[in-house]
């Protein structure tokens, strides 16, 4: 007769499998609600990657365009460049604000 009793090993395996499948389903389901492409969502080739256009402003109000491709390690569409870029560019002493233009929206972010 076939054994039908659950051993502790079987229970652990079952729990691991359930946890794995639930996590692997939940993450991409949640990612569907975010703008494309979202990380951990298997959203390959769902959007065209574009980097923000950036200018820095000094204390006298002069602005200078910055080539972002020289700064980033890799231009990922799912990376949040805005926060990181501001902190990075503000480290240069004479910068008082960073202008970030993404799609049709432009933000002026003052350095802290």
């Amino acid at each position: 007769m076939a054994r039908t009793r659950w051993s502790s090993h079987s229970i652990l395996v079952a729990l691991f499998m359930i946890a794995f499948i639930v996590i692997q389903l939940a993450m991409p389901i949640l990612a569907l609600a975010e703008p494309r492409p979202a990380r951990f969502g298997w959203q390959m080739y769902t959007a065209v990657p574009s980097l923000p256009r950036v200018t820095v402003e000094d204390a006298e109000g002069r602005t200078q365009w910055v080539d972002v491709t020289d700064l980033v390690a890799r231009g990922r569409a799912d990376a949040d460049f805005s926060t990181g870029l501001v902190d990075h560019l503000c480290e240069a002493g004479d910068v008082v604000a960073v202008h970030i233009r993404m799609d049709d929206q432009e933000d002026r972010v003052p350095c802290r």
Partner: protein, 389 residues
């Protein structure tokens, strides 16, 4: 619940997992070479960092030692030397790199991490490995890690299709942006019309959705293999970037192998051992039958042949393939095609041979070769020995 328990405690042959370990290991090496210039940029203090968490990350150790560790563990994993240890170390390195900075995330990298981890859990060193050669290996491994791998592949395709169901993608603009613009495979500008791009977009969604489901269904599996092969080859050559997409194809296509029924010696191949050409072919098939699915039986072994319901005359006429599970039998070119469908080197493209025009040509060619086989091609002693061992 007893069905679930049986499923959990089911064991399978480790050979498919061994093949998968090797292909995933090679992919990990290629991925390391591909990402090396990106990691090297983190050695430059002027490079922007977008960490998920503050403090030390794995890229702070420097690109060279990190890549050396990555490639070293990937080589050990591929060879199956200290497989579990190498698999754990490689998983940690892949996870560390992926979580070090937002710029280092990619779906391909994440899938590679999951595959390495699941294959390691599945005891992938039990077969086709240095570990198995040194310590004897194992005839069976738990089946549940393979179930998780199958689920994972379906999830990847399923959500890749779902995420594309939006107006921007369906308009064709995303496909148009990724299509190659330079080189011999560049798509001419006049083809990048709304209609063509929209059709390509819908086709890509339908293919991915089909793959998510059809790989599980025996009736549709062969079609899924062709669809998957077509999808990954076409996006690699028509889209940019070529190298990353080739690596992705190399990573995901071999995983289809675990959807096949690869029970050892589940298919008896009865062949004419008085024919030199047949011996040579069977010798090659045995060399390529890495999953040990085939059981070649010379037609002169009357007892076994009779037990399988094949007469001497039938065996003399054409090669016979008998499915041991249900006794089904196919002969001639159809048998050759079915054999190719379970070899790791041909299982993806072999279903094409079943298409009616190809089947008809193959049948005629097979009959022609079979009719002439014993008169002009001699049996080499080594081939005969290989074929019957």
């Amino acid at each position: 619940m007893s069905w679930l328990l049986k499923r959990l405690e089911r064991t399978v042959s480790p050979r498919a997992l061994g093949v998968l370990r090797i292909t995933i290991g090679i992919t990990a090496i290629l991925k390391a070479l591909d990402i090396a210039p990106v990691l090297a940029r983190f050695d430059d203090a002027a490079t922007l960092r977008i960490p998920y968490f503050g403090g030390f990350t794995i890229v702070d150790v420097g690109a060279t030692p990190l890549l050396a560790a990555w490639i070293g563990t990937a080589v050990l994993f591929t060879l199956g030397a200290r497989t579990t240890l190498a698999g754990i170390a490689l998983s940690i390195i892949l996870a560390g790199v992926m979580l070090a900075d937002q710029q280092l995330y990619s779906n391909h990298h994440y899938l590679l991490l999951l595959l390495v981890a699941l294959v390691t859990i599945g005891r992938a060193g039990s077969s086709m490995s240095v570990d198995a050669w040194r310590c004897g290996g194992s005839d069976v491994v738990p089946g549940w890690p393979l179930d998780l791998l199958r689920v994972q592949i379906s999830i990847v395709y399923g959500f890749a299709a779902l995420a594309k169901l939006n107006a921007v993608y369906l308009s064709g603009s995303v496909v148009a942006a990724y299509l190659r613009r330079d080189g011999p495979l560049a798509i001419p500008g006049e083809w990048r019309t709304f209609e063509v791009m929209a059709i390509l977009s819908v086709l890509s969604i339908l293919t991915e959705a089909f793959l998510a489901i059809a790989l599980w269904l025996p009736r549709w599996r062969a079609a899924a293999f062709i669809a998957g092969l077509g999808l990954h080859v076409s996006i690699a050559f028509l889209f940019d970037p070529l190298v990353q997409l080739l690596i992705f194809g190399l990573m995901i296509l071999p995983t289809y192998l675990i959807f096949l029924d690869t029970k050892p010696r589940s298919r008896a191949v009865i062949w004419d051992d008085s024919c030199g050409f047949c011996g040579r072919i069977i010798g090659w098939l045995k060399r390529l039958d890495w999953l040990h699915v085939l059981d070649p039986i010379p037609s002169s072994d009357a007892a076994t042949r009779d037990a399988l319901g094949v007469t001497q005359a039938e065996a003399d006429q054409a090669i016979q393939l008998v499915f041991r599970s249900d006794g089904r039998r196919v002969a001639g070119f159809a048998a050759v095609q079915r054999v190719l469908q379970v070899l790791p080197v041909s299982f993806l493209w072999a279903p094409i041979l079943r298409l009616p025009p190809i089947m008809a040509v193959g049948d005629r060619a097979y009959r022609r070769v079979a009719a002439r086989r014993s008169c002009n091609i001699s049996l080499r002693p080594t081939d005969a020995a290989n074929a019957q061992d």
